[in-house]
């Protein structure tokens, strides 16, 4: 059976995966509807404040942050990244509320890659 064209399209970057508002539509029935600020920081020291609702996906915030810092030439927007809070990687499929992100939190945006040994 011929597979649908959509199934062959694999998102290459977090911006492609979550950057589309429609693809990351918030769940309307749950979560905090108020806007709050979180600060996202790079290990290089650069940081920026983003206003988000608690019912929006971590992936959407990550995509927006990668786009922002990419546009400002502070990271390669084609790289693979993650958001880290208190040492824990945030799940891109969870909402900020579900991930336990609180207003005023400072999140680290860092590479997903891990160096290998041996």
């Amino acid at each position: 059976m011929e597979r649908q064209r959509e199934e062959a399209v694999v998102p290459e970057t977090i911006v492609e995966q979550f950057g589309d508002e429609a693809a990351a539509a918030p769940q309307p029935e749950a979560g905090d509807k108020r806007k709050h600020d979180v600060t996202i920081k790079l290990s290089s020291g650069a940081d920026h404040s983003f206003a988000y609702r608690g019912d929006e996906l971590v992936g959407k915030l990550l995509a927006d942050a990668v786009k922002y810092f990419g546009d400002h030439k502070q990271l390669d927007p084609n790289g693979q990244y993650k958001l880290v809070s208190n040492g824990s990687d945030l799940n891109v499929a969870q909402t900020l509320d579900q991930a336990g992100v609180k207003p005023g939190d400072v999140l680290l945006l860092t590479t997903q890659a891990k160096p290998t040994d041996g």
Partner: protein, 150 residues
Amino acid sequence: MIAEISREIVGREIEAAHMLVAFHDGFAIESDVYPELFVLAKSTRRDAIFRLRFDVSNYDEEPPQVRVVDADGNEVASSKFPLLNNGAFPNHNLAGLPHFLCLQGVRDYYTHENHLPSKTGLGWEQHRRLFPLSVVLKTISDKFRNGDWH
């Protein structure tokens, strides 16, 4: 690279390593005076604590050099070197080291005969953004914590 800029970059990376919770009871900074960072790494499988010296001079134009040293700062003998999954860490003939912490993002990795950029096409320039010092510290911390390095 100007030392002051390198020192600033290293400071930010160490701050990011704190955010990654790289440091804890079993992996703690002993001293941090640029260009040397000393970290104590506790084995979770043996009764041993290793002293790691991170030479971060010229970071991030160059990757950090990470060596296992004794209390006097001398590189330790084979018998005092950590183990890699119950085996020995590889040697580094070109550097004259019987063992070395063979890890991407670490200076000695790129001078090892198996990983020379002239052979692999992958050098620090290709890894610098992927494996910054904060990620290297977190990775080494995790390897000691989960017992891969012990």
